[in-house]
Amino acid sequence: MFRNQYDTDVTTWSPAGRLFQVEYAMEAMKQGSAAIGLRSKTHVVLGCVNKANSELSSHQKKIFKVDDHIGLAIAGLTADGRVLSRYMRNECINYNFTYESPLPVGRLVVQLADKAQVCTQRSWKRPYGVGLLVAGLDESGAHLYYNCPSGNYFEYQAFAIGSRSQAAKTYLERRFENFTDSSRDDLVKDAITAIRETLQGETLKSSICTIAVVGVGEPFHILDQGTVQQIIDTFEIAAEQEGPAAEPDAATGRDTAAEQGTAADQGGSTDEGVAPMDI
């Protein structure tokens, strides 16, 4: 995208009918680290790649619980994401107080989208620079929505946002038809695998990814590091044992499995020492 004379404020249309400020806001979202989401009929899993400013700092919080039945993952300006998640928590609490019933995620997502739209039509505001993957339950089952800075929202079976999300999207596109009937554990495994795709060869360990689950009978919660690491370890073992007949990326899996195996073990023990702020 090039700088031009129509991109100074959000209330100026370009001759081609585009609002450049909104599009630039979407760019900001693409710079953030990856977040993915996938759902079955009864469960939704969110996953994200954690970035930290330096080895000394804690990881950026990208997954937020909004209510027992709703949670979200963000990509982009995390400050904007935090503010929006506070708004969502407020809406859920108010609805629950008045109706003693959980706010249907479909309605929350529309309210969120309307809030984002306002920022695309006021000259003294700027669009939110964050994309949200909202996972939640309502009367009609489990849902995954994607809210973007433009004020649009879409429902997805599986989606990925942020940098290098295309790799995850490709993986999800191959597999999404099976998700509806997947078990909860398979869904989590698929989420972790999708995250691995975005890492492009970087070692996958539980300290750099966060997984959260919500489902029928299971309130939204973030899986703890130990659990996630265990699941990652089972992949590595499976990849080693299955050999060339398995998934296409098993070959790379096998080569690097040995190093990943040891790195994961080391990573596991040192991380347990480090971490009060992780996730």
Binding site: E100, S101, P104, G106, D138
Partner: protein, 245 residues
């Protein structure tokens, strides 16, 4: 809810001139409502009387109304306040329908909404002078609750308002059980309404019974109960009573 633009120079609602702005006593009132859960949903009964003090002035007042697809509301107390509540609920259901998604407000949500409304009005010393019964069924779950004019709310298998609490609830406590059939439910309600007819001076012998099930709400045509006044205790009722001669 109560957006009154008071032009009074009153800083408190409790001064003498501000009294014209808030409800102090009811004028046209309905008497008891009785309701119970049965096999397929909820049954509710109320007579069609609107009393003006001690005068049984209006005899065609429908005190039970359907709310949305899943709920049924019955009210006793000030009839005009009941009509106001129906307007609030109309708006509520309208906005709920306008979302046009797969979600809808069920009886539990409506009950809690009403509790909030009643309690907030009570806190402003301007109550809606009603006792409400809210029943319904959604996705197989039966729900029956009540809210009073001061915001007291609870759910139960059978509820009543006003005199119904004193005369009908004891009967229901003895004779109600799970999975009543429709006929048994109606018989039980009629038994309660008959006692109320004999003993509550504001009851009239013209009642309706409403039922709500997954299929929807139906309300019977008004009808009257058979009564028997030839009990020997009703002849010369004061003979031998303390203080009589």
């Amino acid at each position: 809810m109560n957006f009154m633009a008071s032009k009074q120079p009153e800083n408190s609602l409790l001064g003498p001139e501000a009294d014209s702005q808030r409800t102090l006593y009811p004028y046209v009132t309905g008497t008891s409502v009785v309701a119970l859960k049965y096999k397929d949903g909820i049954l509710m009964a109320a007579d069609m009387g609107g009393s003006y003090g001690s005068t049984l002035r209006y005899k065609n007042v429908e005190r039970m109304k359907a709310i949305g697809k899943h709920s049924l509301l019955g009210a006793s107390g000030e009839i005009s306040d009941f009509q106001e509540i129906l307007r609030y609920l109309d708006d509520l259901i309208l906005y709920d329908n306008m979302w046009d998604d797969g979600n809808s407000l069920g009886p539990k949500e409506v009950h809690n909404y009403l509790t909030r409304v009643m309690y907030n009005r009570r806190n402003k010393f301007n109550p809606l002078w009603n006792s409400l019964v809210l029943g319904g069924i959604k996705n197989g779950q039966k729900y029956l609750g009540t809210v009073s004019m001061i915001g007291v709310n609870f759910e139960d298998d059978h509820v009543a308002t006003g005199f119904g609490n004193h005369l009908a609830r004891p009967i229901l406590r003895q004779e109600w059980h799970e999975n009543l059939s429709f006929e048994d439910g109606v018989k039980l309600l009629e038994k309660c309404m008959r006692v109320l007819l004999y003993r509550d001076r504001s009851a009239i012998n013209k009642l309706q019974i409403a039922k709500i099930t997954e299929e929807g709400m139906t309300i019977s045509q008004p009808y009257s109960l058979k009564t028997y006044w030839e009990f020997s205790a009703f002849e010369n009722p004061t003979q031998g009573a303390v203080g009589s001669w």
